[in-house]
């Protein structure tokens, strides 16, 4: 299990390969990658604020919960903070299991909890100024299924 919170960019493909190479006997690997997207057009960039100290602890707790709920060989979370541009990779999750159902379920669980329970806040910068991204009701509702 590896949790990384960093400002620097990272190479999601290289991380996926390194994660897969270290697995031993797990045949199924699921990854999720979140990219900065320019929904309305005109996005100049994104700034992600976080809560140093709590962030790492909250993500580690979510990962440990996933490891107890599903039969996983390994789990990885990398999440950036600071200034990002459209198209940049914000974060990734990877999970590994023997059978694909565990890896898929655990990755979805990790994403649902990271969205609403890890202390990150996104601010978008456009030509019209800055704005904090509002939490979506669907994201909060998604937690009820676990």
């Amino acid at each position: 299990m590896r949790v990384v919170v960093q400002e620097a960019a990272f190479d999601a493909g290289a991380e996926l390969n390194a994660f897969s190479a270290g697995l031993g006997n797990m045949g199924a690997v699921v990854s999720f990658t979140g990219l900065v997207r320019d929904v309305a057009g005109g996005l100049a960039g994104m700034e992600i604020e976080h809560y140093p100290g709590m962030t790492e602890k909250a993500i580690a707790a979510i990962c440990e919960e996933a490891m107890t709920r599903w039969s996983l060989g390994d789990a990885l979370v990398i999440h950036r903070y600071g200034a990002l541009a459209a198209g940049d990779t914000i974060m990734m999750v990877a999970t590994a299991s023997r059978h694909r159902v565990d890896a898929f379920q655990a990755a979805e669980f990790l994403m649902d909890y990271l969205k609403s329970r890890a202390p990150f806040w996104k601010k978008e910068t456009t030509g019209q100024g800055d704005g904090w991204v509002a939490a979506r009701d669907e994201d909060e509702d998604a937690l009820t299924r676990w």
Binding site: Y51, M54, A58, H79, A118, P119, F120, W121
Partner: protein
């Protein structure tokens, strides 16, 4: 006790962190104390249903006790991932 503010709560109050000497029994008592200080606090805490709180870096509720707490943080709902 350290009180931390993030995202638009930080922007409204105008600072990321401050030391607060308080005998507030619960988070809600602390919020009432802060609101009584200055308009910017009253504005930031006007609708606590739009806020989340962590005590010693654990998410909790506004009726959580503050006895022994070293750090309280206020922020809007998270938008990670």
């Amino acid at each position: 006790m350290d009180v931390l503010y993030f995202a638009w709560v930080r922007e409204r109050i105008g600072l990321p962190k401050e030391q607060v000497v308080t005998s507030a029994a619960t988070v809600l008592d602390l919020v009432e104390e802060l609101k009584a200080r200055e308009e910017r606090y009253a504005a930031a805490f006007a609708d606590i249903s739009a806020l989340r709180v962590a005590v010693d870096q654990e998410l909790t509720d506004f009726d959580a006790p503050l006895a022994g707490a070293r750090e309280v943080a206020f922020f809007p709902p998270m938008t990670g991932g």
